[in-house]
Structure formats: structure tokens, C-alpha cells
């Protein structure tokens, strides 16, 4: 490869990485909220699928992408409400409920899709890259950073907004306290279950949005099990990111890079590695991340534990 080709390759890689990271960014920022409040939602995968399906269904009915995204968020939150009810009100084990919701999300979306959509085979119009005058036309940099659709750009906004809410508002302060010392929050006169519900709903709303991006900003179709493990990778991202939204943004980008790399390397005829190995790259990186960063250091100390007043 000469230099020009390498530069083009890198620009395309970065552009694709951000696009592929987008669902991870949304889902992991959401999960940061949930886990900071002490709720470990391993049902992200199922929630993202519900978001993807709801987004697809709403957009195919109305042809309106913002409405589709909204439907994705709403679908995710509705799913989150079920999770919150069982884990916070009933105080069932978070892992068990999360696993159940993953199965429910996969089965339910596959069922509804097959029942109502699969025979139509109809795709939807997805969000198109916005052309930013001058910036989009820059050599290499344009390809890498300025030829994305609005949903991809909004990940920056989401990361900044999430950080402000978590660290600069009374809500965020209380939320962080709930995951560390819920009783102190209780004594200070705030409702621990209320905050946990809010955190789960924020988290699943984001996961739904991440799922909806898959159908509305990436592929133009719903495919059964199309999240292909992104919900679980988002859980690993949160650990690697040390429970910070900005961290989640950059770690997701790193994982996006692995996704993009495996896609582009598959297309390179000169590489003789079996494509299955390349496909496994993001998942291998997830395992490595979890092993290397498994230390409990920054984890909310009450993560995964139901709260009992007495």
C-alpha cells in the first residue's frame, strides 16, 4: 500500500469506527447511569433489540425517522420498566431478570417481525449523512469525521449532556450516592427506589436509542438478533470506562475501531486470516478488557444489590 492508499484506508476506518460505535456509545452511557445507581442491567442486549424493532416499526409506518428514534427510546424504556419493577420493587436478582429480559427481547422481536414484516421484505429510508459545507469536503478528515448522519453526531452531545447531568446536578449527585451508600440518600430524605427507577429508565431509554440507530441510521432493515452481542459489549465498555460517560464515549470508539477493522480487513484479499477470526475481534477484545480491568476499584460499591430500608 502506498501512502495515499493508507491514508484513505485510515480515514474510512475512522469514519466507519464512529458509525459502528454509535449504538455502543448510547447503550454504555445509559448503562453508566443505571450502574451508578447500583443497578446492573445485563438485559441491555434484549433492550437494544426492542429499541431496534420499535424504531423500525414506527419508521416503516410513518416514514418519519425522528419518530422512529422516539419509538426506539420509548420501547427501551417500557422494557426497562419491566426490569425496574422486578429488580427494584420485587427485589428479584438483577442478573436473573436481566438474562430473562434478554431472552424475551430476542424472542419477542423475532416473533413480531416474522408475524408482521418479514413477508413484506420492505426496507425503510434511513438517516443520510449530512453534508457540512467545506468540512465534509476536506481530504481524508472529511471522510473520517464529517460525513456522518445526525444520529452519529448526537453521540457527542449525549456524552457531554450525560456528564453534566451526572456531575453538575442535584439529580446526578444523588444518583451517584444511591449506588454507593443508598441509606445515606434515604436518610437525606430522597427515595432510593425512585432514583433507581429513574436510572434504569434513563439507561434503557439510551439502550433503545442505540438499538434504533441500527435500523434507522445503519442498516435499513430489522434483522433477528441484529444487535449481535452489542448489549454485552456495552457492559464491558462501562467497566473499561470506569463508569464515566466521557470514558464510555471513547472506549466505545475503540470498540467501533475493532468492528470497522474486522470489516475492512475481510475485504482485503491480501489477508489470509480466516474471516471468522477477524469477526471475533470485538468479542475477543471484550474478554481481554474484562480480564485486564476486572479490578473493582471504581465500581459502585452497591452494584447489583437490592436496597432494604430495614
Amino acid at each position: 500500500m502506498d501512502d495515499m492508499m493508507l491514508l484513505t484506508f485510515l480515514a474510512t476506518l475512522v469514519g466507519a469506527a464512529w458509525r459502528l460505535a454509535t449504538p455502543l456509545i448510547f447503550a454504555s452511557i445509559g448503562e453508566v447511569f443505571s450502574e451508578r445507581a447500583g443497578v446492573l442491567n445485563i438485559g441491555l442486549e434484549g433492550t437494544m433489540l426492542v429499541g431496534a424493532f420499535c424504531g423500525f416499526a414506527a419508521a416503516s409506518a410513518t416514514g418519519n425517522i425522528p419518530l422512529g428514534l422516539l419509538a426506539g427510546v420509548a420501547g427501551g424504556m417500557l422494557f426497562g420498566l419491566v426490569f425496574a419493577f422486578f429488580t427494584i420493587t420485587i427485589k428479584a436478582d438483577q442478573i436473573v431478570v436481566g438474562a430473562a429480559l434478554n431472552l424475551l427481547g430476542m424472542g419477542l422481536t423475532a416473533f413480531l417481525f416474522r408475524t408482521y414484516y418479514v413477508s413484506t421484505g420492505k426496507g425503510i429510508d434511513i438517516a443520510q449523512p449530512v453534508h457540512i459545507p467545506w468540512l465534509s469536503d476536506l481530504p481524508f478528515l472529511g471522510e473520517a469525521f464529517f460525513r456522518q448522519n445526525l444520529i452519529v453526531y448526537s453521540t457527542i452531545l449525549a456524552a457531554i449532556l450525560a456528564t453534566l447531568v451526572l456531575y453538575r446536578t442535584s439529580f446526578g449527585l444523588t444518583l451517584r450516592a444511591v449506588g454507593e451508600h443508598p441509606k445515606a440518600v434515604d436518610v437525606a430524605g430522597r427515595s432510593v427506589p425512585g432514583y433507581r427507577y429513574a436510572a434504569v429508565l434513563v439507561g434503557t431509554g439510551f439502550a433503545g436509542l442505540g438499538g434504533a440507530f441500527l435500523t434507522l441510521g445503519h442498516s435499513n432493515q430489522f434483522v433477528e438478533g441484529m444487535t449481535s452481542g452489542r448489549g454485552f459489549i456495552a457492559l464491558a465498555v462501562v467497566v473499561f470506562a470506569r463508569w464515566s460517560p466521557i470514558g464510555a464515549f471513547f472506549v466505545s470508539l475503540l470498540f467501533g475501531l475493532f468492528y470497522a477493522l474486522q470489516l475492512m480487513l475481510q475485504a482485503q484479499a491480501s489477508i489470509v486470516v480466516p474471516y471468522q477470526v477477524l469477526q471475533a475481534l470485538p468479542y475477543i477484545m471484550t474478554i481481554i478488557t474484562l480480564v485486564v480491568f476486572r479490578g473493582k476499584g471504581a465500581a459502585p460499591s452497591k452494584l447489583g444489590q437490592p436496597y432494604e430500608m430495614r
Binding site: T174, A177, V185, V187, R190
Partner: protein, 510 residues
């Protein structure tokens, strides 16, 4: 003093399932007094105060505060009425700053945090006024326990209170810190506030209170003015019978060295060095105490000695044979008994029966097992014998040990460990969480063991316990042993300074 009491509690009842926590409590607190609530663990002191500060709602009865009947739905209601409580387990979020902890739950949930400077200024002003050294931008988890308590007290003052409730505040403090706290209580009263002081330490209560109420079995059994009573009478009211305050001593010279520790170092579970080169001997027929504020390596020392934590450097020699680095089962088998600090974690298995718990270390040995089968009858007889000899209050030997009170669980642990006829007994927190009656009993048992020639190492944060039964006291600070003292109460100041890490001799008094 006004005729109308500041706070009147009238015939309060509260049950948690089958447990009666408050059985018709009545109590009157006068404005501007320090009123101590004295009682054993489980007497109902903390529950009563939790009801006054809105954490728990009473089933029956009235609370009249400043002449008005009150009923708090949450602690916030109580704070609005200027009632604040400093809990035994701090209500501070460890990863937040002091100032963030203070504004937690204040203002609207949706508000943006602004003007932290103003909060910081207010904290500094209060901190100067009450001479409580508190930095508003410190992260709580970086502070020592004593500092955290100051933060907790100032938090209540920050919220603005007339009535301050302190729940067992001195349990975590050095003697000097305790002195400062008792002074602070007097200052607060001069400032027009009323203080309720919950404690089970008679001497502190006698020093600081105006009036003392003694609780037993969920009731206030007596309220007295401090000048009209003495420690012995208070102890009798707490326990319901006479308590021997001084245990008889038998000053025999100790025998040969049983346990020898040379330059022992080990790290805590998080990898931070916790014990830094400790050396000492324990001889047959003596009780060696280790004093210190909790968190100075005592936990790790006892875990390392009993084989539960890997040793980095140094040697442990028991009866002339090195036991360094052996696993706990091997150490147990060499005449080494361990009464652990955290009995739920290292001492007993809660869901198992008393019988099963008494043979935890010996389930595979004769006579408890033959050919891999347990001998139920032998185990039951052995357990019944221990229950009888150590007066463990229980239904029978098949009851799960979780159903017993903390004191009775501890008695069974002590019974089990002594029944193994050890040469050396490692005890960490002999009397933690147990009542005075059981305390007296286990302490007497330890003295009997010493008199029969056993070597005992007693690690404790309760100075009274150390003074009562030890032959000499080592002081641990920051993973090392800073000094040794005889068990002489008149040298409490010296002990306190060593516990605070101060190696210099104190200036002569007066």
C-alpha cells in the same frame, strides 16, 4: 428549666416481625441537657432514636416535640424540625466530597449544582466555630474514622439543629478523640442545643451527662441524675443483676514462650502493606493484648497468624515449630485456636446447626467421624456438653446458629475453640457485639485459660477489655508495634498517644 419537656416520648411500641424492639418506652428530654441513653446491645436504644429522627415509624405511642405532637414520615421531616442524628454507621457517601455529602438531598432534585463556594464557606465557618477540623473539599473515603465522625457531626450542624442524637459515637475513637467529642457535646449545650448520647460505656456517660436513662428489653427502666448514681448501680440496672466490675487476677509469672512472631509483614487483601515488621512473644500463662484504633493492621495480623492471609516476610513459631505460610487447617491442627474478629465470616456458618458449627474443624476426626461417616450421637453429646458448660442460650443443638443472639453465638465459638485444648489462643475482639452479662462470662473464661497455662493473644479496640484481663498491652499503629504498657488505667493518656501514633512521652500533667 421549663416545666414542659423539650421532647416527650410516650408509651412507644415498635415490633419488627416477631421481635419487640420497643415495648412501651416513655422518656422525657429537657431542653439544654445532655441526656444519656445507656443499655446493652439490643436494649432498643438505636431503634428508639431512629423513630425520633424519622427513619422508623412507631406502631403505637406519641412523640411530643417542643409542645407539638409530631409524626415524621422521613428523616427529612425530622431535619426540618431541627432534629439531627449521627448514626453509628456513618451516613456519608465515601466517594463524594464533604461538601457534596452536605448538600445531598437538599434543594430540588432537578436543580443544577451551583455556588459550591458558598457551601464551602459555610462549612469553613462552622468548622472554625466548633473547632472541628473539616475540609469541605476532602473526599470522605480518604479520611480516618475519627475525621469522618467530625464530618458527620458537622453535617448535622450544617443542616441546623436544636436536638442532636449521637449513636455510640465513641466506639471508633481514641481516648483523646473521645475527650474532644465529650467537650464538644458540652460546647453544643452551651450553644443552646440539646444532646442525646447513646452509649454502653459507663465512664463516658458518667462524665458528660446531666441525666441518664437506662434501657433494658425495649423499655426505659430508670432515669437518674448523674450525681445520684454510680457506675455499679448503672451496670446493675443495665443487666438486671449485679455485675463484677473488676475481675480477680492471679499474678503468676508466665512460663516458656509458646508463640513467637519475628518481623512479620503482610499485605491487606487490596495489596497495600498492612503489617510492617512486627515482632513479639506470647508465653504460657499470660494474656498479651494488642490495642489500637481499628484499621491499623490488627485484622491482617490475626488473619496472617491463623493462615488466612499470605505472609510476605518474617516467621511465626508455635511451640518451637515454624508455622509460617501453613494453611489454616494445618495451623488449627497444631494446638492453635482462633476466635475471629468477624464471627459471621470466619467463625461460624450461620445456616448450620449448633452441632455442625461445633465440629467445623474436626468433622473428619475421631470421635466425631469414623470411616468418613459422621457420628451424630457423639457430636450431639459434645455440643450439648458445650452448651451447658458455657451457658449458651438455645433451644437445642439442632437449632441453626443464626437463630442465636450475637452473645450466644460468641459463647459457642469460644466454647468450641477452648474445647480443642489449645496451647495458644488468638482472640480478636472477644466481646464485640455481645452484652455485659456474656462479656463478663467470656472474660472470666479467658482468665481461667490463662491460669491453666495457655498463651493468649487478645486483639481488641475496647480498652476496658484489655485493662481488665491482659498482663501486658502492645499498641499497634500503622502496621507496626509502637510500644508496650502494663494494664494500668492511670497510664491511659500514654496509651492514647501511642494509639494515635505519637511515640513521644506525654508532658507531665499539671
Amino acid at each position: 428549666m421549663s416545666t414542659r419537656p423539650f421532647l416527650r416520648i410516650d408509651n412507644i411500641r415498635k415490633r419488627f416481625g416477631p421481635i419487640v424492639a420497643s415495648d412501651g418506652v416513655s422518656l422525657e428530654i429537657e431542653e439544654g441537657e445532655i441526656h444519656s441513653l445507656l443499655g446493652e446491645n439490643g436494649a432498643g436504644k438505636s431503634v428508639l432514636m431512629s423513630m425520633i429522627c424519622g427513619m422508623v415509624r412507631p406502631d403505637e405511642g406519641d412523640i411530643v416535640y417542643k409542645g407539638q405532637p409530631v409524626s415524621f414520615a422521613s428523616p427529612r421531616d425530622a431535619i426540618r424540625q431541627r432534629i439531627g442524628m449521627v448514626h453509628q454507621h456513618f451516613m456519608l457517601v465515601p466517594n463524594l466530597t464533604v461538601a457534596e455529602n452536605y448538600i445531598l438531598g437538599q434543594g430540588s432534585a432537578l436543580s443544577v449544582i451551583s455556588d459550591m463556594d458558598k457551601v464551602h464557606r459555610k462549612i469553613r465557618a462552622l468548622s472554625e466555630r466548633y473547632a472541628l477540623d473539616v475540609r469541605p473539599d476532602a473526599i470522605v473515603e480518604d479520611l480516618s474514622v475519627g475525621e469522618q465522625q467530625r464530618v458527620e457531626i458537622l453535617k448535622v450542624l450544617f443542616h441546623g439543629i436544636d436536638l442532636l442524637i449521637l449513636d455510640e459515637p465513641t466506639a471508633v475513637l481514641t481516648p483523646q478523640e473521645t475527650d474532644r467529642l465529650l467537650c464538644l457535646m458540652s460546647d453544643l449545650v452551651k450553644d443552646g442545643k440539646t444532646v442525646v448520647f447513646i452509649s454502653h460505656k459507663l465512664d463516658e456517660v458518667m462524665r458528660v451527662s446531666n441525666r441518664i436513662s437506662v434501657m433494658r428489653d425495649g423499655r426505659v427502666v430508670h432515669t437518674v441524675k448523674v450525681g445520684e448514681t454510680n457506675a455499679r448501680e448503672l451496670a446493675r440496672m443495665m443487666v438486671g443483676r449485679d455485675v463484677r466490675m473488676e475481675l480477680p487476677r492471679n499474678p503468676e509469672p508466665p512460663g516458656p514462650i509458646v508463640l513467637s512472631v519475628e518481623n512479620l509483614a503482610c499485605r491487606a487483601e487490596n495489596g497495600i502493606p498492612a503489617v510492617r515488621g512486627v515482632s513479639f512473644d506470647v508465653r504460657a500463662g499470660e494474656i498479651v493484648g494488642i490495642a489500637g484504633v481499628s484499621g491499623n493492621g490488627q485484622t491482617e495480623l490475626s488473619l496472617a497468624l491463623s493462615g488466612l492471609l499470605p505472609v510476605d516476610t518474617g516467621r511465626v513459631v508455635l511451640n518451637g515449630k515454624e508455622i509460617t505460610g501453613l494453611d489454616p487447617a494445618a495451623i488449627n491442627a497444631r494446638s492453635f485456636s482462633h476466635i475471629p474478629e468477624d464471627r459471621h465470616k470466619h467463625g461460624i456458618v450461620l445456616p448450620l446447626s449448633l452441632s455442625e458449627n461445633t465440629i467445623l474443624q474436626r468433622y473428619d476426626q475421631k470421635p466425631f467421624a469414623t470411616g468418613g461417616m459422621l457420628n451424630g450421637r457423639v457430636i450431639a453429646e459434645h455440643t450439648r456438653d458445650l452448651i451447658k458448660r458455657f451457658r449458651v442460650k438455645s433451644r437445642d443443638e439442632n437449632q441453626p446458629i443464626a437463630a442465636l443472639s450475637g452473645g450466644n453465638q460468641q459463647k459457642l465459638v469460644v466454647a468450641r475453640e477452648l474445647a480443642r485444648n489449645p496451647d495458644f489462643i488468638l482472640v480478636n475482639q472477644l466481646t464485640r457485639g455481645i452484652d455485659i452479662g456474656a462479656m463478663e462470662f467470656v472474660m472470666e473464661e479467658m482468665l481461667k485459660q490463662r491460669d491453666s497455662g495457655r498463651a493468649i493473644l487478645l486483639i481488641s479496640t475496647e480498652l476496658e477489655e484489655l485493662f481488665a484481663i491482659c498482663d501486658r498491652i502492645l499498641v499497634m499503629f500503622h502496621g507496626g508495634i509502637l510500644g508496650e504498657l502494663p494494664p494500668d488505667r492511670t497510664r491511659l493518656d500514654e496509651l492514647g498517644l501511642l494509639m494515635a501514633g505519637n511515640k513521644e512521652q506525654p508532658a507531665p500533667a499539671g
